[in-house]
């Protein structure tokens, strides 16, 4: 091997391909031997990351005068490789797994230090080799994006994949999705999909599948079980019901919200308990769910994404809010308390409504109704033309607004659709937690 020796080895080292073995001496008696690995994006200047033979990574500050020797590569142990898919039991109709990326289908990215979505069926099977053990599962990669990068235009595409899956004989459909915006996508599918002959189950993971403790595997397992059970025909979200790996909650798509940034049981049904649960491989439905339709399923599009979601807070400048709404056909306000804004906002709201913008109100409390009749502020907002959406979550209301805008050309039609129950999204009764 060549032993280039320069006064400053940094440029040479920086240009080395990943995986090259080197020996570095600092001239003061210290020597490091290891494999060059990609720099972390937050690594310091002139830091060379090395993977030592004991498996540890370290960073060495390369100074002029350090000596570098390239070494022959270490013999690499055989790769286990990606296991081939287990032969799927035939004779029963399959569950289709649509993957969109997200933590549940991501792996560690050595370069950025973060996680990146996988895009191929074989990579998914490498993570979840036991996926098809209990019955046939067909994997269809749709997107390979973290869910913060999912946009409304993706929702009808996903909905079409669901319809095609059922058309091709699927018993149920599972959608693996990043958790950040999983609630939005779930609500969108709930409004977009009609006459579902079986369950559409959205599932995610709060821990990436390269970790032995990932919740992805048990969530996916339970989601496939639920999709195969086929007792209902609506869109639901399935995630951990608590911190244990043996109980999973079934949430109605329009009621669910991510309420924690990291816990496995981050998803909660608001205003009502979950529809049911999966425990020890069995599905329990605790509340009535939409029965399977005789079909055929269809996509009830389109969406019109000319709408915004605006969180009201003390100090929000009415002129800023007004500008934010420019060019939109609809705006959903997440109001304070029972659905309020500061009186200073009444003016622009009144003006925008008069000009044909649909302004809808929800509560940022994320529980209970928005109600215009209790305080004068609410009555004034109502009088200004704001449409109150009761107990809809702000996110669900936003998604519903896009759907309604896509289905009605006039503001009045939009307002009528907004107030209509389309996917079981409104709750007539709010019962205290734990009530029988």
């Amino acid at each position: 091997m060549a032993a280039p020796e320069t006064s400053d080895p940094w440029d040479h080292l920086r240009a080395l391909p990943m995986g090259r073995r080197v020996e570095i001496s600092d001239g003061a008696g210290h020597t490091w031997t290891g494999t060059v690995v990609p720099r972390h994006e937050l690594s310091g200047d002139r830091i060379l990351p090395l993977k030592l033979d004991n498996g540890y990574n370290i960073g060495i500050l390369i100074e002029p005068g350090f000596r570098v020797r390239e070494l022959p590569p270490a013999p690499s142990p055989p790769t286990n490789g990606v296991s081939s898919p287990a032969p799927t039991p035939s004779g029963t109709s399959p569950v289709v797994l649509l993957t969109t990326g997200g933590t549940i289908a991501s792996r560690v990215d050595y370069t950025t230090g973060g996680v990146r979505p996988v895009r191929e069926e074989r990579e998914i099977l490498a993570f979840y080799p036991e996926l098809a053990h209990s019955g046939p599962v067909r994997i269809v990669p749709v997107f390979d994006r973290l869910s913060e990068n999912i946009v409304p235009a993706d929702w009808p595409i996903l909905a079409r994949h669901v319809v095609e899956s059922f058309a091709a004989g699927a018993r149920g459909v599972v959608v693996a999705h990043g958790t950040d915006t999983l609630g939005f996508t779930a609500a969108a599918l709930a409004f977009l999909l009609r006459d579902l002959p079986g369950p559409v189950v959205l599932v995610g993971a709060q821990r990436s599948p390269d970790r032995p403790s990932s919740d992805g595997s048990s969530n996916l397992d339970a989601a496939v079980t639920l999709a195969r059970d086929g007792r209902f025909g609506e869109v639901v979200v399935l995630m951990h019901a608590g911190l244990s790996d043996d109980r999973f909650a079934i949430h109605r798509a329009t009621w669910v919200r991510k309420m924690h940034s990291s816990r496995r049981d981050a998803f909660e049904s608001r205003n009502a308990p979950p529809l049911g649960r999966v425990e020890s491989g069995r599905v329990h439905l605790d509340q009535p769910a939409a029965p399977p339709a005789s079909g055929p399923p269809r996509v009830d599009g389109p969406l019109d994404d000319r709408a915004v979601l605006l969180w009201m807070y003390p100090g929000l400048d009415p002129t800023v809010a007004d500008r934010f709404v420019d060019g939109q056909r609809g705006v959903v306000l997440a109001g304070t308390g029972l659905g309020h804004t500061a009186a200073t906002h009444l003016d622009w709201i009144r003006r925008r409504v008069a000009a044909g913008t649909v302004v809808a109100m929800t509560t940022q409390c994320l529980g209970g109704n928005a109600d215009p009749y209790v305080y004068a502020t609410g009555r004034e907002l109502l009088e200004a033309g704001v449409t109150y959406l009761d107990d809809l979550l702000p996110e669900t209301a936003y998604v519903k607004m896009l759907w309604a805008l896509g289905h009605a050309p006039e503001p009045d039609g939009v307002r009528r659709l907004l107030r209509q129950s389309l996917a079981g999204e409104f709750l007539d009764r709010h019962r205290p937690a734990g009530a029988a």
């Binding site: 600092d26 008696g29 210290h30 490091w32 972390h40 937050l42 690594s43 310091g44 830091i47 990351p49 030592l52 033979d53 004991n54 498996g55 540890y56 990574n57 370290i58 960073g59 060495i60 500050l61 142990p77 790769t79 286990n80 490789g81 990606v82 792996r107 560690v108 990215d109 050595y110 230090g113 973060g114 996680v115 490498a126 993570f127 821990r207 599948p209 390269d210 970790r211 032995p212 403790s213 990932s214 595997s217 048990s218 608590g242 911190l243 244990s244 790996d245 043996d246 990291s262 816990r263 496995r264």
Partner: protein, 624 residues
């Protein structure tokens, strides 16, 4: 022989990646249940140790408590690394003359026995290359200094569910690994003591049993590296090292004999010999014990007589094979060197030999399990281990047993189980930080030894025991309360350990304070201290109670004079004849009555005075 040590010391700085205290607790809150899977790491390779563990398919129940938050429960990403813990590790690096890395990369080391909720241990290499100078003048190289998370405490296992308590999980551990430079068992112990004293010098370590643990790496010529993991008792370090050397010697001798006989291992699939045992009524192979499972035999041609212990040794190849069967989930195995026995008759042995076509120099192993699949898996592992005996000693991890022996636990983990902890950004180690640490280095044990010896006028050997025996804090506390350094040193290094040789007796500083006070005020003799300590170790509620129970208290100077007078009177003739020279003859008689009740020097003085007065003590009349 070559041996190296890895010393793991818990820090009292709070946990490594969250703000929880580094304290153990008996308070248990809610529990939760998890499963762990062997995942493929960054290069799609699954670590062998990890996949063997995953095959066991266990559920893990975790107990939470006041020392836990969502981070320990794997429900929240790690917080930035604890700065005080990192400073402590860097302090050790400077003290050991090791070179810190310039940027720390926190790694995930896959561990799926459930002891980490995440399925990995976070660990980071802090410094490399250094040396430890021993009192003998020898120097031992330091390979690496790491900072890592301690694991959860295993509380028990029941029907496929292992319970862990999360209090210990995340407590920082400094791991100091020496090079393979240690030459003997006693030297291993010296290295462990020296590193322990250095760690304690930082004053940021946890104290007490289990807070410092040693892993021992031992290899002999011709043997592979053996890692004995988690030795908690310093006094057993050299026993484990020497025991491991003996084990390796025995196994290497067995290898030579096997090679000379051209021994080999039969079909690792085994032979089903269940039918040969249809009449067996007792022992592990009886129908009742094996629950209808098959009995499998492994032929071991050329192994005859080499599975049992050689004369004068307790080590044997048969045990190594049985360990593999146990690791596969069986209760053990039987081998032909120990048969007939355990319900197996000579006829059974002959029948199995016939089935296997074995001759007199050949051996075989028998095992059974209710699950035929598990039995076959175990047999394959036994066959693999027997084949390894022809090569020598396979590298492996072993568990220390309380009697100084060790037992196979798992294969040595490889580098494949390490990949970057992406939730923690790289941590720069700046020259400024190192300079700040250099400016505030703790007193080294050797300096402390010299200072204590000088300040208290004590001999180096006794101070050595104080400093290296983890007694220096108590020594300084008690001498700080004005007690005699000589008395304190003797109490801590000799009398206290002797009072309860099995350990477990740790009187409070207040108790020791009271005991020393009683001796110094003359309420009891200094010689009475061991008696009082024994009383306390046996459950006496206080120093006073122990003094009372031993009958040491209330014996005044007047009582002493009375005894002296009685002894002198009884020997009046001798005293008259020999004068002061009668002292040594009479001292023994007096001590027989007053030992432990009055100080020896005081007794001698009283006796000398009485002899000088010609046999009549001042209070003798009244006391008689």
């Amino acid at each position: 022989m070559k041996a190296g040590l890895e010393v793991h010391q818990q820090l009292a700085t709070g946990k490594l990646f969250c703000a929880c205290p580094s304290e153990l607790t008996e308070e248990v809150g809610p529990t939760f249940v998890r499963r762990l899977r062997a995942t493929s790491g960054e290069n799609l390779r699954v670590d062998r140790a990890a996949s063997l563990q995953a095959e066991r398919g266990l559920r893990y129940r975790y107990e939470t408590g006041p020392a836990n938050c969502l981070v320990d429960m794997d429900e929240e990403p790690p917080h930035p690394m604890n700065e005080a813990a990192l400073d402590t590790a860097l302090t050790l690096a400077v003290l050991l003359d090791a070179r810190p890395v310039d940027e720390i990369a926190v790694m995930r080391k896959i561990v799926i026995d459930g002891s980490n909720t995440s399925g990995f241990q976070r660990t980071a290499l802090i410094a490399m290359g250094g040396h430890l100078d021993l009192a003998s003048g020898r120097s031992v190289s330091i390979q690496s200094i790491c900072l890592e998370e301690d694991a959860a405490r295993r509380m028990g296992e029941e029907s496929g569910e292992v319970t862990y308590r999360l209090d210990r999980l995340g407590i920082p551990l400094i791991e100091i690994a020496t090079g393979p430079d240690v030459r003997s068992g006693p030297e291993a112990r010296e290295v462990a003591e020296e590193i322990g004293a250095l760690l304690r010098a930082t004053r940021r370590v946890r104290r007490g049993i289990g807070t410092i643990r040693e892993d021992l790496n031992v290899s002999t010529d011709g043997g592979q590296r053996i890692e004995i993991k988690g030795v908690q008792e310093l006094r057993l370090v050299h026993e484990y090292v020497e025991g491991e050397v003996r084990r390796q010697e025995v196994l290497l001798a067995v290898r030579e004999a096997l090679r000379a006989r051209q021994a080999h291992v039969g079909d690792p699939g085994g032979v089903d010999v269940t039918a040969r045992f249809s009449d067996i009524v007792q022992g592990p192979l009886s129908a009742a014990s094996r629950h209808e499972g098959p009995i499998l035999a492994l032929a071991l041609p050329g192994f005859g007589g080499l599975l049992r212990s050689a004369p004068g040794s307790d080590e044997r190849l048969g045990r190594e094979l049985a360990d593999q069967a146990r690791a596969a989930g069986l209760r053990g195995l039987l081998h032909s060197d120990e048969l007939p026995n355990y319900g197996v008759t000579a006829d059974h042995v002959a029948a199995v030999r016939a089935d296997l076509g074995s001759g007199p120099d050949d051996a075989f192993a028998l095992l059974t399990d209710r699950s035929p699949e598990r039995a076959r898996g175990a047999l394959r592992r036994v066959a693999e281990r027997a084949a390894a005996a022809l090569d020598g000693i396979p590298g492996e991890t072993r568990d220390p047993l309380p009697d100084g022996r060790t037992r196979y636990s798992r294969p040595l983990p490889g580098g494949d189980r390490m990949y970057p902890e992406t939730d923690v950004p790289p941590i720069p180690v700046t020259p400024e930080r190192i300079a700040r640490i250099r400016a505030r280095l703790p007193e080294r044990p050797s300096a402390r030894l010299a200072r204590l010896a000088h300040d208290h006028g004590l001999g180096t050997e006794v101070v050595r025991q104080v400093v290296y025996g983890d007694l220096e804090d108590r020594f300084e506390e008690l001498t700080g309360r004005g007690h005699s350094p000589v008395l304190v040193a003797r109490l801590l290094t000799q009398e206290l350990p002797a009072a309860a040789p099995d350990g477990g007796f740790e009187p409070s500083p207040a108790t020791l304070d009271a005991l020393l006070g009683a001796a110094e005020s003359g309420r009891i003799a200094k010689e009475g201290i061991p008696t009082v300590l024994r009383g306390l170790a046996n459950g006496a509620p206080s120093v006073e109670a122990a003094i009372g129970a031993a009958g040491l208290g209330g014996f005044t100077a007047q009582d002493l004079d009375a005894v002296v007078a009685r002894v002198v009177d009884a020997n009046a003739e001798l005293v008259r004849r020999r004068g002061p020279e009668s002292f040594s003859a009479l001292m023994g008689d007096v001590m027989k009555e007053v030992r432990g009740r009055r100080d020896g020097r005081e007794v001698a003085e009283a006796l000398r005075r009485a002899i000088a007065r010609g046999g009549r003590g001042p209070d003798a009349v009244g006391a008689a």
